[in-house]
Amino acid sequence: MSAEAGTTGARQSRLSRALLYALLIVFAVYYLLPLFVMLVNSVKPLSEIRGGNMLALPHEFTTAPWKSAWNEAQIGVSATGLAPYFINSILMVVPAVAISLIVGALNGYVLTKWRFPGANVVFSLLLLSCFIPFQIVLIPMARILGIIGLAGSISGLVLVHVVYGIGFTTLFFRNYYEAFPTELIRAAQIDGAGFWRIFTRILLPSSGPIVVVTIIWQFTNIWNDFLFGASFSGFDSMPMTVALNNLVSSSTGVKEYNVHFAGAIIAALPTLVVYIVSGRYFVRGLMAGAVKG
């Protein structure tokens, strides 16, 4: 909606328009400020940060902090930089997203187009599982991962993220397929297509948008996860967020702020790129996950 300036004079309206834009720009500055701080200070030498103005552009431009953050900085006991943990995160995110996506799509398909008595109970249980505070499952999960031999491994993290992701992926696909005309399924049945062929030939080809939304949602959440990573990973399987936190909060040695900032940007880069490339879908996922869930 929009409210037009009624009978007020043109001058007053031009003034209020200017004020409006000024306010909007102030907010934009507020949101961009931390990113600006990170960027600017990640290319300054440490001395310039310590003695200088954080909001000032660098006098001396250096990429050393980036190099250090990527493959030199001390993480825990080893000076490997963030690179191995970046790889860990990728090894964790890709299978976890793929599996939870496929499972969610199939669940959504069954829950809308092949309902059976009790399907609503299953859905309600899945739906409620989206909301639990994960603290409530930390202790038993640690036990189970130990028992099945996945403690401290990337596979263990994949399992955790799949299990606690299918609630959301199912919800996304269910809501999407709910709106998918049932008559289409009926037509395909009359044409002789069965359970799998209806799914692969009729539903999946029309699922592009929700697949993108789900991938983005899952990717962002799993990449950004810290709690599970901190709880269930070992030194070799730490995801990016945990490694970054180790880097930033290690109490030994000098605080290399510029390296921290570079590391933070590296950790943020994948999700930021996804956001920039597919902002529309990202917002849709947020809304679907938040409002519907």
């Binding site: 929009s2 310590r50 954080m54 859905f123 202790i139 967020t241 933070a264 950790a267 409002v291």
Partner: protein
Amino acid sequence: MSTIAQASVPPARASGARARLQNWLPRLVLAPSFAAILVFVYGFILFTVYLSFTDSTILPRYGLVGWANYERLWRLPNWWIALENLAIFGALYIGICVVIGLFLAILLDQKIRGEGVLRPIYLYPMALSFIVTGTAWKWFLDPGIGLEQVMHHWGWTSFHFTWIKDTEMAIYCVVIAAVWQSSGFVMAMFLAGLRGIDNEILRAAQIDGASTFQIYRRIVIPQLRPAFLSAFVVLAHLAIKSYDLVVALTNAGPGRATELPATFMYSYTFARNSMGVGAASAVIMLMMIASVIVPYVYAEIRGGGNER
């Protein structure tokens, strides 16, 4: 959202083993997820509830101790600090996010040129990890190198901003960073709500002689009730679960000054070898979230059912 029975396609009954398989196929497909959720969510919840009544310390043990863990929990000053902090943090976080979100949404809704540029700028923090947000704000609010230094460089030498080192004020730093991360998202929710309002109602109000301010106050904002509700539920949920941000920003310090239930649970369970108390605090957290979510989901399901 609606979970009310809708026209769906039940399998046509058919004879033969293959046909019987077809009839069971949907159930078979859903079964692994169902089993996983039963075990990993509901089974684990029960297990944690059970643990909260045992004498578990560093590892789970199964000697029942009745309500002892809960009694101990409610006697711990740290738990009270965590709850008090959650109350302050939750109230300010939700309140400020809603105010900023609504304000920005209304501003953006005035046929703004460049909305396509501004909206993504307001929203991008939502794509970041709380660890990244925490890192950025941790150093930006740091008196040694951050905002305070900036002001000094700009000539305001008497400026002091040491909240993040101050046990009384540190929790407000968590609020600042959290609001920065989430308020754009709340803006998006309100904006969607605003765009959903029927234009003709607004024209009618204009013809009735309402001013822009009156239109918003009397007609638009009351119609945003669902957006308010969703925003509240989402933010309350995020607040209760908040963990990463505090870890990255203050690591629950200085001292235990920014302890929240989530950090409390983690440290008692895994660092302080009081798994029984940790489990009890997790159960309390679950109950807090349930008290927000269950009525909401219930209303949504019922409302959805009525609309159809």
